[in-house]
Amino acid sequence: MGFVVACCFLLVSPAPAGETRHVLVLYSNHRLLPANLEFEAGLRETLTDSTELSAEFLDYPRFDGEPYIRALALFLNEKYARRPPTVLVVGGEEALGFLLRHRAELFPQVPVVHAAVARSFLSSLPPLSADVVGVPIEYDFPGTIDLALRWHPQARRLVVVTGTSAQDHAWEAKLRGEISQFQGRVTVEFLVGLPTDAILKRLSELGSDAVVFTPGYFEDGVGRQFSPREAAQLMAAAAAAPMYGPFDTFIGTGIVGGSMPSFAAMGRQAGEIANALLAGVAPTALRLPAIMLPTAHADWRQVRRWGIDASAIPGDAVVRFKGPTFLEAHRNEAIMAAAVFLLQAGLIAWLLVERRRRRLANLAVQQQRFELAHAARLAVAGELTGAIAHEINQPLGAILSNADTADLLLTSGADRRDELRAILADIRRDDLRASAVIQRLRALLAKHAVERQPFDLNGAVREMEPVLQPEARRRGVALEVRPAATAVPLIGDRVQIQQVLLNLVLNALDAVNGLPEARRTVAVSVERDTDHVILVVHDRGHGITPEHLPKLFDSFFSTKRRGMGLGLSIARTLVEAHGGRIRAESGLGEGTVFRVEWPVARGAGTPEPA
């Protein structure tokens, strides 16, 4: 620590005393008062870089009283004895008053710049010596109130809030003096010396016919200490009516605005004077404005909130929080972000479109598979037309012949009633027979929605027998159908499974085509083990050559001259759609066995024994 001090000393002390530019600022209030911070910012930006800046705070009104003031004067005296300031800036009336009282003992030769001192305060003092200079301010209470009434022409009540400290009372007195000019325009209500809670409650109950004016307060009715800005912030948050204040520092707390000199401007003004004095300009030679002119200030957010007509805001007004728009301030970032958003949105949209497209494509594929399966059924039916026509024409032929016979018998006049009755019975039976064939055919060929229902594989196979047997007979093949001993439950689409069977049997019939009669046999059986439901189609044909076996279920693979190569491919698709698998075992010359296996349908299972 001692080392650091020594270093500082070594660095600073060689400089000639006359060239040391040291500005001491003495503030009335404590160091964190927003007004002080803004003032110092204005001051710093104006002072030349080489200027040393010190700051002291009276901490008024938190600390007050003769002993404190004396001790403070003593402290400053001791503190700055070795490093006296070249220029002294006093901020605020209390600081100026303090300085004037203790100047002789403290800094008698140092020129003084006063700032943030009201003209009214100056006029209450004896004339200042020539080396105490500054631009007085006017806290523009009436200007602020006037502004409020102009921006809220509908207002009928003016509510004024002040506190209980000496400064608060001074402001109240000033207000009471100045308020009379508004009496005709609005009714004025003073809220003086109330507890903060009560103030907030009152403000929250105001209607749209009121505006609030407050200089804030340092102390409320129950002695709680505030900075005026804090008080203003609390009030603005609670108030149900627009609020105005005379101080620059209130902007941002939630007040709408006011007519006020800005503390930053005061700081800049003080800095300019200090610069001139430091440059050796005689205080008397300074040409200073008579006063810091107030300007209208407004918080744009509040302007919007209270619906104030923007055209009522004067052109030279300082409008805060409007600032550059987000776009103006961050144009590049905004463009980047927008680009990223756009890209992202585009990507998302593209993905969504893709997803939708894929879903549609899936649907289309499903639909196509369904159509294809149906087309395959129709094609198979084409192969079966001979057998089917035979099956239907057989009963139709019998019916027609029987009808002709009946006609002949009736024409002959012979009484052969019994024979006629037998004929009618036969006609009836054959008619039902034909209709059953058609129904089975319709069930097989109809374009039905794919079902998922439990059914008995045994039954499904038996149903196909009347379709398959005639075809087998037509081709001179012995077709044997062996259902399982008990019902074999399976879940899915009965017709599709029948289509699989049809395909396999027609293939088998093709396989034994042209062989000696003993080998022209095809066997269909339904089997069941603990885990599987099995459909077997066995022919005693030539068999499949080993190199063809792996390609058997591929689309468009066919060894037949007229084959499309879709039958087995579709059969496999249908089998797998039912969670099963299909495979072929074949030995050359020994025929082929197609085995279709499905896992046993649990739950939907075996019919309950009654």
Binding site: T385, G386, A387, A389, H390, E391, N393, Q394, P395, L396, G397, A398, I399, L400, S401, N402, D404, T405, D407, L408, L409, S412, E419, I423, D426, R429, D430, R433, R473, R474, G476
Partner: protein, 206 residues
């Protein structure tokens, strides 16, 4: 022989249809007999009487076309009318080429069926008549002596009596005599008629 009434053989595996057909033929005055299969028909050789076969194409075992082929091997085949459940063009062509009278599809109109059967029976009758005529001719021809046959051959070859006599080394008068004898045996009145007879003999079925 011609006094026998025709018999229609109905071969169809479908019992219902077969019954209906037999019933219809019976009602229409035909005499008919039913068979459930080709084999059934072949196992019961039909009596030698006029008739025809009403034949289904598709049947378990040998088909109707197989039966038609088998029938054609017989000396006096029964005409066949096919009655099929499905008008398969290939089968139809095959059947007609093989000499079927008609190729009908079920269900068949009564008139069409009776018409076809009648034509079959007519053909059978004609066949039978032609067959009988040929038999008679063959028998007459068989009754010629070797010398008469030699004379016959030369007459139809266009030789005159003198040439025949020279060729055979017999008297012209003997040729004349034998010529009169063979013309009487063959019931012919002129050389031209003999020529036609020779033509027919050459084309006689076996």
């Amino acid at each position: 022989m011609t006094t026998l009434s025709p018999l229609i053989h109905v071969v169809d595996d479908d019992e219902s249809l077969r019954t209906a057909l037999l019933r219809l033929l019976d009602a229409a005055g035909f005499e008919a007999r039913g068979y459930a299969s080709t084999g059934d028909f072949l196992l019961q050789p039909p009596p030698d009487r006029p008739g025809c076969v009403l034949l289904d194409v598709r049947m378990p075992g040998p088909s109707g076309l197989d039966l038609q082929a088998a029938l054609r091997c017989q000396s006096n085949p029964l005409p066949v009318v096919f009655l099929t459940g499905y008008a398969d063009v290939a089968a139809g062509v095959r059947a007609m080429k093989a000499g079927a009278v008609d190729f009908l599809t079920k269900p068949v109109e009564r008139e069409a069926l009776f018409g076809a059967l009648q034509r079959a029976l007519d053909r059978d009758a004609a066949q039978r008549a032609a067959h009988a005529e040929a038999e008679r001719l063959r028998a007459a021809f068989a009754a010629l002596t070797p010398r008469e046959r030699a004379v016959f051959d030369r007459i139809v070859a266009g030789q005159i009596n003198k040439q025949i006599a020279d060729a055979l080394g017999i008297a012209e008068r003997t040729v004349k005599l034998q010529r009169a004898q063979l013309m009487a045996k063959l019931s012919a009145n002129s050389a031209a008629e003999l020529g036609r007879l020779a033509e027919r003999l050459q084309h006689l079925p076996d």
